[in-house]
């Protein structure tokens, strides 16, 4: 009685994503699948869920061989998946999302709304997943959306449930609640695969931990018999330092001064609601908070990408409230944007062109309207070497680079100048550990060179490792300020909006 994956191999052009991977999970068991981004965890689970077809290997459930050509097949066989990026239609109600694909219908294919609603209520009660069945998904918080995802899976009577990085978007307290739900499912006899890259969580909830690296299973451990350091070594294949080495900060003058800032989001709701703080030269201020609590709008407001409703932003002597991004660039501010591929790069452009994306307008890259490609090429080649960008050359489209190397292109571009202010939003999201370490060191180096650094990250660990001061945002307001060695639970409470 178990779900078994045997010898799964999956190739993408140029990449061996899964290399002869085997994994099993029994009913009532929680297996943690641990690994770095890009280790092949998600690929494996997408194979299991029928979204990818494996090139080799087989899947059996209770000894019976399965062939999953689509997620419909996987669902029919009792496999459910809660995706990292929720698969919910924002403009549909909770009920519509739950029944989609399995709609109770009456005459003429008409949806039986009462039955649908009842279904949601029943599952909601049974597993203690509190939701309002009639609200639109776009109007509910992420934690509740996750409950909807779980209800969806339960409605399909899944026996085996895959959770792909389920805690990434949750506050520490929401994580606790989620673990409670997980125990409930386990007690109900469900087999659970829990994908994560957070070592502590794996040790806490799993019955068994399977570690993947570079597309292979590199080890297995029982939580009681392992340590975080052991697991980390397995994950990255070498001894890693979980902390970033840095000296004590010696803050200087105030470089960035934000006062009573109010910024609206795209729905015209106040996303940043009266935020004030300073960032001084030579210090790193980290903004922590659950995603969607105004971080994006705060950065966009400061950098001139989103109009400021009220309040002010000053950089040194200059008022930069509602300044144009170009003005900030000229004043000596660098910005690593949150959305690497959406804002930071033009994916169709070459590495070379991306290296000058925001400085093309001036010497030495152009004179008047005339581009100087020769000197641009020289600079770009230097930067590629200096910042260790792994690329076949500066003329290849940046889209062919890995995520980590794409991010290094941005870091090279933004850090190559002498700057007074560095704004780094989610600088290491979704990239490999080598690049993370490298970028962390670069940020600390910028600080030590005297720049004021504003760091935004949804990874609390990252903020704690890098920042000299931590500011927590909740519902667009400052919910607390902490030293980097403050208790996680205190920071967590602030992230939830309850001041310690």
């Amino acid at each position: 009685m178990a779900l078994v994956l045997e010898g799964i191999t999956k190739r993408f052009p140029g990449v061996l994503a899964n290399d002869n991977v085997s994994l099993s999970v029994a009913p009532g068991e929680v297996v943690a699948l641990l690994g770095e981004n890009g280790a092949g965890k998600s690929t494996l689970m997408n194979v299991l869920y029928g979204l990818y077809t494996a090139d080799e290997g087989r899947i059996t459930i209770d000894g019976e061989e399965m062939s999953f050509d689509s997620s419909a097949d996987a669902i029919a066989a009792g496999v459910g998946m809660v995706h990292q990026h929720f698969m919910l239609v924002p403009v549909f109600t909770v009920t519509e999302n739950v029944v989609l694909g399995q709609e109770p219908t009456g005459f003429g294919g008409m949806i039986d709304r009462d039955t649908a609603r009842e279904t949601v209520m029943n599952i909601s009660e049974r597993y203690n997943l509190r939701v309002d069945p009639d609200v639109l998904i776009e109007n509910i918080p992420v934690g509740v959306q996750q409950r909807v995802e779980i209800i969806k899976v339960m409605n399909r009577e899944a026996q085996y449930v895959i959770f792909d990085e389920p805690t990434a978007v949750l506050t520490p307290q929401e994580v606790e609640e989620f673990f409670g739900i997980l125990k409930g499912l386990q007690a109900d006899g469900k087999g659970i695969v829990f994908i994560t890259h957070k070592l502590g969580e794996a040790i806490r909830v799993a019955d068994r931990i399977v570690v993947m690296r570079g597309g292979k299973v590199v080890g297995e451990a029982l939580p009681a018999e392992t340590t975080q350091q052991d697991l980390a070594n397995m994950m990255v294949g070498r001894s890693v330092d979980l902390t970033v080495p840095k000296a004590t900060a010696s803050p200087g003058d105030v470089v960035l001064e934000v006062r009573d800032l109010v910024v609206l989001d795209s729905r015209n709701v106040k996303a940043v609601d009266g935020v004030s703080f300073d960032v001084r030269a030579g210090e790193i201020v980290g903004i922590a908070g659950v995603q969607g609590n105004g971080q994006t709008e705060l950065i966009e407001g400061i950098t001139g990408l989103r109009p400021v409703m009220s309040g002010s932003v000053r950089m040194g002597e200059n008022d930069i409230t509602d300044a144009h991004p170009r003005d900030l660039h000229q004043l000596g501010a660098s910005h690593i944007p949150e959305d690497r591929q959406g804002s930071g790069l033009v994916l169709d452009f070459s590495v070379l062109e991306n290296m000058i994306l925001d400085s093309y307008y001036d010497r030495p890259f152009s004179r008047g309207v005339f581009m100087d490609w020769a000197s641009t090429r020289e600079t770009a080649q230097d930067l590629v070497t200096q910042y260790d960008v792994r690329t076949p050359g500066v003329d290849v489209p940046v889209s062919t680079l890995s995520g980590g190397n794409q991010q290094k292109v941005i870091v090279a571009r933004e850090f190559a100048r002498d700057v007074e202010l560095v704004i780094a939003a989610q600088p290491t999201r979704g990239i490999d550990v080598g690049s993370i370490e490298y970028i962390h060191n670069q940020i600390v180096a910028k600080r030590d060179a005297g720049a004021a650094v504003l760091l935004v990250s949804s990874e609390l660990d990252e903020v704690r490792a890098l920042a000299d001061r931590i500011i927590v945002l909740y519902h667009g307001r400052v919910a607390g300020e902490f030293a980097p060695d403050a208790e996680v639970t205190d920071i967590g409470l602030a992230m939830l909006g309850s001041a310690p």
């Binding site: 993408f12 052009p13 140029g14 990449v15 994503a17 981004n37 890009g38 092949g40 998600s42 690929t43 997408n46 990292q84 990026h85 792909d164 990085e165 597309g215 950098t303 990408l305 144009h324 991004p325 170009r326 900030l328 660039h329 910005h335 944007p337 959305d339 591929q341 959406g342 804002s343 930071g344 790069l345 033009v346 994916l347 169709d348 452009f349 062109e353 994306l357 925001d358 093309y360 307008y361 152009s366 008047g368 309207v369 005339f370 581009m371 490609w373 792994r390 690329t391 076949p392 290849v396 062919t400 680079l401 890995s402 995520g403 980590g404 999201r429 979704g430 990239i431 490999d432």
Partner: protein, 402 residues
């Protein structure tokens, strides 16, 4: 795009297609880039032949009585049509001149659409911009009297300005209100036609003694001189158009304005982040695109008999320009070759209509088919079993969702 869904990819060297290496000996990039268009043209001609064969009612009736004879007549009909198509495009010096003559406005308007594509804008309004450019050129061509050496550039410039205003208006609407340029430029085409129908009947512009919308002749100093004597219709407009191939190429790839066009065209959000004025870029790009089309319109007034403006002066050039730009992959040099090809088809089509009584509209069908095949390389590969690297399909336009 999420990073976790797709595994981190190490850069891979582009794969080579064995067949193409064999076919070209070395697999040079030029040969590789020619093989698909060639297959597309051949396939379009084959389908065109079938359309010609199956659209003759008399032969179709005969098919029921005497299939053998009917099939013979079909082959006959197709070879007559394609023979004329070839004769009219490449078969003589005059044919070559006609091809170049037809390519001239296609080239200018094609550059207009290509420039738009590069800036992320789909300019379907070359037609209307040509009318407005033609109108402005007509004014200057009728009312200004100067020596030719000044009058001709001035009139062309007026054409540029006329088209620039019409195109820039669509750009401004997009920049200020987000109105999608596909719809506003199409509407601009219709509005321009009605506007021409009205203004060409106003006194001072209308050809005296006419009651339909036709302008007076532009004066001799504003007419484009013919390149190879009075017998051949190709004018210096062709040289002007070719000069603009280089100008547009320089603008796009050697100037910081072009850098902004291409950055905003490919990723407007990144453009904004990088400090570019996206609204300005959109407006200027549409205005310049309109200007190029406006010059094509001026060419239709200044470059051919009877040197008059009518609401139909653009013919179908504005729409053919879209196919020219697509076939040329929005690359100025590619547009040059595409314009020459479609110019030849147009010239040949006129001969085909005259000598073989096969309507010139077939050329439009051929153009559409060629573009479909070029835009869907997978189709050609499947049809001809050409192996090749799976190209990423390019999304040139943006919908109204964002």
């Amino acid at each position: 795009m999420t990073d976790t869904q797709v595994p981190e990819k190490e850069p891979t060297p582009p794969k080579r297609s064995p067949l193409m290496d064999r076919a070209t000996g070395v697999g040079t990039s030029v040969a590789r880039s020619l093989i698909l268009p060639t297959l597309a043209i051949v396939t379009a001609l084959i389908i065109g032949a079938i359309i010609i064969a199956l659209s003759d009612i008399d032969i179709l009736r005969l098919l029921l009585e005497d299939p053998g004879v009917a099939l013979g007549q079909m082959v006959n009909e197709v070879s007559r049509a394609y023979g004329a198509l070839f004769r009219g495009s490449l078969g003589s010096i005059r044919a070559l001149s006609e091809s170049l003559f037809s390519a001239t406005p296609l080239l200018l308007a094609g550059l207009s659409v290509a420039l738009g594509f590069r800036a992320g804008l789909f300019n379907i309004g070359a037609q209307g911009q040509m009318l407005m450019g033609g109108l402005a050129a007509t004014y200057v061509g009728i009312y200004v009297s100067l020596p030719g050496i000044i009058h001709i550039p001035l009139t062309l410039l007026a054409g540029f300005a006329g088209g620039m205003i019409w195109g820039g208006l669509a750009g401004l609407l997009k920049a200020r209100t987000g109105a999608h340029e596909v719809i506003t430029t199409i509407m601009g085409n219709f509005i321009a036609v009605f506007f021409m129908q009205w203004i060409l009947t106003t006194p001072g512009l209308q050809d005296p003694g006419r009651n339909n919308p036709v302008s007076a002749e532009v004066v001799a100093t504003a007419r484009l001189p013919r390149l190879f004597g009075a017998d051949y219709r190709v004018t210096i407009g062709l040289l002007v158009a070719i000069a603009f191939v280089f100008a547009v190429h320089w603008l796009l790839y050697r100037s910081s304005i072009g850098f902004e066009f291409r950055a905003v065209g490919s990723n407007p959000q990144a453009g904004r982040y990088a400090g570019m004025n996206v609204a300005l870029v959109v407006t200027v790009a549409m205005a310049l695109a309109g200007g190029l089309a406006g010059m094509a319109g001026a060419n239709q007034v200044m470059g051919l008999e009877p040197y008059k403006a009518t609401p139909a002066l653009a013919g179908a050039v504005g729409f053919d320009a879209i196919t020219v730009a697509l076939l040329g992959r929005s690359n100025p040099v590619g547009v040059l070759w595409a314009a020459l090809l479609f110019g030849a088809l147009t010239a040949g089509g006129r001969e085909m209509q005259g000598a073989a009584q096969v309507p010139i509209d077939l050329v439009v069908v051929l153009q559409a088919l060629i573009v479909i095949f070029v835009a869907a390389p997978g189709m050609m590969r499947a049809l001809y079993r050409v192996k090749g690297t799976e190209e990423k399909s390019t999304q040139l336009t943006t919908g109204w969702g964002s």
